[in-house]
Amino acid sequence: MMNKINKIYPNGVVANKDVDFSVRRGEIHALVGENGAGKSTLMKILFGIEKPTEGSIYYKGKKLIINSPLDAINYGFGMVHQHFMLVESMSVSENIVLGSEPGSSWKINSNIQDEEAKKIMEKYNFKINVKAKISDLSIGLRQKVEILKALYKGAEVLILDEPTAVLTPQETVELFEQLKALKAQGHTIIFISHKLNEIKEICDRISIMRNGTLVGVYDVNAVTKDEISDLMVGKSVNWEVLKTPTKKGKVLLKVKNLTVINEANFPCLKHVSFNLHSSTILGIVGVEGNGQKELVDSIAGLTKIESGEIILKDKKINTSSVEKIRELGLSHIPGDRMVRGIANESTIEENLLATHTKDERLFHKGFLKTKEIRKWSEELISEFQIKASSPKVPIKMLSGGNIQKVIVAREFSKNSDCIIANQPTRGIDIGAAKFIHLKLIELRDKGAGVLLLSADLSEIKSMSDSLLVIFNGQFVAYFEDANKVTEEQLGKFMLGVEKQDEKEIKRCEA
């Protein structure tokens, strides 16, 4: 159905490389892959949100030209996004017919709308009060409205982007019933997911993506979960890291029974405990969205914690301000570089300076020491090999790798002994990544404790001394020696296929 799809984003990221993806009519087809593997891009191309750089799409033997989601809808595609696209203040029926309102085009007739909505619900055996407001519905029901919306517009092919991520187990069961019923009525479903159990349960065939390429298409019954996870994770480029064995120092950071509940009232972290020692790199690995962000944010003082304790160098920092925590000796390379890591409009110098306002060398009684600051920032630029003509250059002029080096320079120039490095090398070139790795190891050898998070398994495996695997807001495995575990094994823990017993995990609290 999709032929030789290539997608290169303007920033140079190759998201899809010669992908041939096909789906048979009337099947439930799973599309799996790690974050950044290119599944979402592929589906966005199919649904007309993104345009392919190259390649073509065929449907029922005809070549399609899809320029916008509207085209895709007209061809009979429907997409249920991970983040629902519903108007919360409007009723169920209004949302279902939105964009193709029945009746006269001048007047909106809510009775006809309700009738239409009821008709479509009867046809597919959904039961929702058509007059209810979206804002009053549960997440599971909202998802059903999304599906109905697509069906109402005549969707024959439904794309579901991680539909179960937001559902309770009961809602998931219900969703699967409905998907099976849709399949029985001749609809085709593309099911994007990380959850291998679910794929095994309802899908017919599976396409596996890695690094922008399609690595295999199988009948679900013909592959085991282990094989799928091996294919997903793959064996990527090895990071050769020169690293001497380390001797664990004293406990630097102690996290005890930490629970974090997010704004949507969802428990992102459930009673998590671990210790970070000096002179070690502790890796935390998991599929994105399993609580890593909340863990980092709560240590860095950026989110409210529900219960538990965080102790940095014998001081409880549960409710401390970011300023206090940083003063105690925490450095933090944020995972979302452009959102939080820099102020886009500011110069390199200003970005470097932002965490150093307490430094006597650079500030005198609240005044900037302009000359000293210039000299200091020039030194950092050369030490961290940032490619820029002057510290006065706006940071947004730099490439991603150089921006990351500015962040690293800022965070590493503080002599902190506790460092959180969240995706320190994501999306940057190998040279810059290597440089950052060497700096991290240098700091470790000087006695710093590093908490490393990365979506790149080979990076985290070669960098870390010990490893923790996080799944669904809890640790599911601990490896004292990161060298003694394979990426394939990690993959199984990350996807929740396997879990160590409590005792083994508890060792990370030593």
Binding site: P10, N11, G12, A300, L302, S321, V322, E323, I325, R326, E327, H332, P334, V339, R340, G341, I342, A343, N344, E345, S346, E350, L353, A354, T355, T357, F363, G366, F367, L368, T370, S389, S390, K392, V393, K396, M397, S399
Partner: protein, 352 residues
């Protein structure tokens, strides 16, 4: 370094082009409505230079517009669209008039205290929208606009009911005591001591924004509040501080305008200086060091337009339209620069 030179050059060219287009457009408009288009154009652009008194008018207006521009520039630097300086101008003018009428004090002390009190009132007014936003998530744009009317009518109540001079033919306070007036510093004009205060205030603002830790933290907070929180800046405190400083400057501006330009307080509606401040701040790109230039430019256009209205047949409505066209075009260059910047980044990124 080459890049910066390129940028500056580009700015100058763009500004000149905007002025030229504005000139051409206003000429076309004047041509359509006037029988003496060349005289009208001459009055518009050279009128303010005709004599010392007229040029004095430009400076007088520029003083007030500088206070307004500084106030808004600092408030906007925190990325807060708080328009309470408008109300602060009014309320502070009224308060200082009431103060000097109630407490007859000797020269120098009287205006000095009146300006300080005006500033404090301005600060309080401008902090309110920020507090409402922090506490209840109220949009500062809406709350500040509403607040302007609240403080105006409150001040007006006192002015028209407690301090009104019944012998005066219009609604105004009693005559302000001589000891409270700001002294004239250039004979032949009405330029008052406020000029010296405004120069000093600009200097302080430039130092504050460019050389102090607070100014630095304020800039970072305004540019990316997520970043500011992450690096450990107390963003709420910084935002509230910036609104207070901006409000204080607006308050000073209101008091100085009242004590420098009038012998009674007689504003019956909001003076519009807060909104003029927005124009000045946009032209100055929120940078205090460019505020006097922008304020001078706006004042010059205003006075030139007045002159054109009084000495030719171009009506006041047309004047407002021409002013609008000129300001819009010059302000539009800042918008253009944003697009240009974005294009440039894309280019750089693509090149690797």
């Amino acid at each position: 370094m080459k890049k910066i030179n390129f940028e500056t050059k580009f700015e100058i060219i763009r500004f000149s082009v905007a002025i030229l287009i504005a000139l051409a457009l206003s000429f076309i408009i004047i041509l359509l409505v006037s029988d003496m288009p060349f005289l009208a154009l001459q009055k518009l652009f050279l009128g303010p230079l005709e004599n010392l008194r007229r040029f004095g008018n430009v400076i007088e207006l520029a003083i007030t517009l500088s206070f307004a521009g500084l106030s808004i520039a600092i408030i906007f630097s925190a990325n807060q669209f708080n328009l309470a300086p408008e109300g602060a101008f009014y309320a502070s003018g009224a308060i200082s008039a009431m103060f000097v009428l109630t407490f007859p004090l000797p020269k120098i002390i009287s205006p000095f205290l009146a300006i300080i009190i005006g500033g404090l009132i301005g600060a309080i007014i401008c902090v309110i929208p920020a507090l409402l936003k922090k506490k209840w998530g109220a949009s500062e744009l809406v709350s500040s606009l509403m607040l302007n009317f609240i403080v105006m009518y409150l001040a007006k109540y006192f002015i028209n009911n407690k301090f009104k001079d019944p012998t005066c033919g219009y609604n105004a306070t009693y005559i302000l005591p001589d000891s409270s007036r700001l002294i004239n510093i250039i004979p032949g004009t009405r330029i008052h001591f406020g000029l010296i205060i405004v120069v000093f205030t600009i200097f302080v603002c430039v130092v504050f924004m460019q050389k102090t830790k607070w100014g630095f933290q304020l800039l970072q907070t305004g540019r990316n509040v997520e970043f500011a929180k992450y690096v450990g800046i107390n963003t709420s405190a910084i935002i509230i501080m910036s609104q207070a400083i901006g409000g204080f400057i607006a308050g000073m501006g209101g008091s100085i305008e009242t004590l420098g330009m009038y012998n009674r307080f007689q504003w019956q509606s909001l003076p519009g200086y807060g909104f003029d401040g927005v124009i000045v701040a946009i032209l100055a790109k929120n940078k205090p060091k460019y505020v006097p230039l922008a304020a001078f430019f706006l004042a010059y256009i205003r006075i030139g337009a007045d002159k054109m209205a009084t000495s030719t047949d171009v009506t006041s409505e047309m004047i407002a339209i021409i002013q609008g066209v000129i300001i819009m075009l010059v302000a539009a260059t800042s918008f253009l620069s944003n697009t240009r910047q974005k294009m440039l980044i894309k280019k750089v990124r693509n090149n690797g």
